[in-house]
Subunit: 315 residues, 2 copies
């Protein structure tokens, strides 16, 4: 499928870092960056942007903060066609800590929020736009948002200056019919805005749902190399590029980075299809209890985990 | 999704055995059988049926042959609600070696064929039906069949007495729009027949494509525990059951069998999402070159494999 307006955003480091607190070697991050540039990826999201007093540097690697000097150590002035993205959580970055775009290699702020935080998200997004950046709003956990609340969020976004709004399948629980129905709502409410999609792979549907979003008109698409990401992970970048067939994308640098740097991470980090993640996905639950189970010595006792989840629902 | 006419066929042993020449312990096969019965699975396909002179018993386990005494060691008279299926390849079973249904615990013969074998497939299917069995025809590798040839196959099947015809994504290369288009053709040509689907997971779309087939009217659905199967494997049974939500299905016996018997097989057999399988899927190729690559010492050199595949295409 060749669609000219499609943009691919790699969030290998940002989402993958949720599994190891962003403790990647500088060499690995540099290689992911170089590979994304060579592959023709449109945006690379390198981490979260947070004020330094929000988290201890002793515990978290540099991509929890995205300080300007750390960014420049990887990419210098980023004299490439690829744009640099950071994700901002509401309340984790002080407005005064955000420098003007003219002093930063960052191009895009993506503001992640829950439905009840939409006003704060729009405020932050407008603030960074006024400082010269692009901005998106990524509404998380939409599978738990009521129709009424979603209508209000979409109306607020429609009135804002934000150019791009994201459909996010936070729990990896959406089926194609859910995707179609949500995309119809997003497109109808936001006819002049770009729609993005970020999937999770709990039920092996992240790639499939990305395709359904493209069919419905989404044009900004998140993916990670080998699908690395929290829990079950994300839509694999290599699958997305193989589907798009857009001549500007090159698979080889992505495959090389996977074999040299990403695949070897599996020795220390478990992401991908595991039964506990599949259970939270199919139950439309946050994966946190599955992640705790996977970190326990009972990780391979699927029956006990399933029964605990179902029992909790029935109480 | 609750659809009353849906039938689930577990082919854990039949398709999984392609990875280890059906060298499963009797205890494992018995547990898969008991678990499928307890889970409410409609059919269990336990292996291929072949005449004894076709393959050496020294190399292949019993589920390459499905001799009646081996079947009965697992299931006795199979006094359950679950039906027993075997798969027949054209030319591997002599008609005279097929006993009448009254002397067998087998209920269903599934005849796998390529498009140019359709006449032989119908002949075999009619033969087993005349001996008292149910029969399906599973047309393999449809992604390589021309529109004209497919039309002829569908016309031949329409005129036959076969009750069920299968859409098979042999190479794991079909996207949802391909599935929709093929299902439309199958349903239009065979309005009075049941349509089945068997997917492969090369591009992580086996479950997604199964859902698309259900939406389009397929009602006989193949799956395997933890997706075990040749190369990238199949649609995971646990995902399919979680989607169907039909009260007759019970997830717990499946999860227990996975944790006790199937997951531990991963120590010796590699199936699932691996880059070489993803490459053949996205290129609409048979996975045999990927399986050879995975068995070689270069298995983690994805770039060389990709370049060899693309180069072969260009010659």
């Amino acid at each position: 499928m060749f669609k000219k307006n499609i943009k691919v955003l790699d969030c290998t480091i940002r989402d993958g870092g949720l599994m190891n607190k962003w403790q990647f070697s500088k060499e690995l991050v540099k290689n992911v960056y170089d590979s994304c540039v060579a592959a023709g990826v449109d945006y690379m999201e390198i981490g979260y942007i947070s004020s330094e007093d929000q988290f201890p540097r002793t515990e978290f690697g540099p991509w929890k903060f995205c300080a300007e000097n750390d960014l420049r150590e990887i990419m210098g002035e980023n004299n490439t066609n690829m744009k640099i993205s950071v994700m901002a959580d509401i309340g984790r970055i002080k407005f005064d800590d955000i420098r003007p775009k003219s002093e930063s290699v960052v191009d895009l702020f993506r503001v992640a929020c829950y439905d009840y935080q939409i006003d704060k998200a729009i405020e932050l997004a407008h603030h960074v736009m006024d400082k010269g950046y692009e901005a998106t709003i990524n509404l998380m956990a939409v599978s738990k948002v009521s129709d009424r609340a979603l209508e209000q969020v979409l109306a607020d976004v429609a009135e804002s200056r934000i150019g791009t709004f994201y459909l996010v399948d936070s729990f990896g629980s959406l089926y194609s019919e859910d995707i179609h129905s949500l995309m119809d709502k997003y497109i109808a409410a936001l006819p002049d805005k770009q729609i993005g999609f970020h999937g999770h792979n709990n039920t092996q549907l992240a790639f499939a749902n990305t395709i359904e979003c493209i069919r419905k008109g989404a044009s900004m698409l998140d993916a990670t190399m080998l699908g690395i990401g929290r829990g079950a992970g994300n839509c694999p970048l290599e699958l997305l590029l193989s589907f798009l067939k857009n001549p500007k994308y090159d698979m080889v640098p992505v495959l090389r980075c996977i074999q040299d740097y990403i695949k070897p991470l599996q020795k220390d980090i478990s992401w991908g299809y595991f039964i506990p993640y599949m259970i939270t996905g199919s139950q439309n639950d946050h994966p946190r209890s599955a992640m705790a189970w996977m970190a326990s010595e009972n990780r391979d006792d699927y029956v006990s985990y399933y029964e605990s989840v179902v029992k909790n629902k029935e109480v």
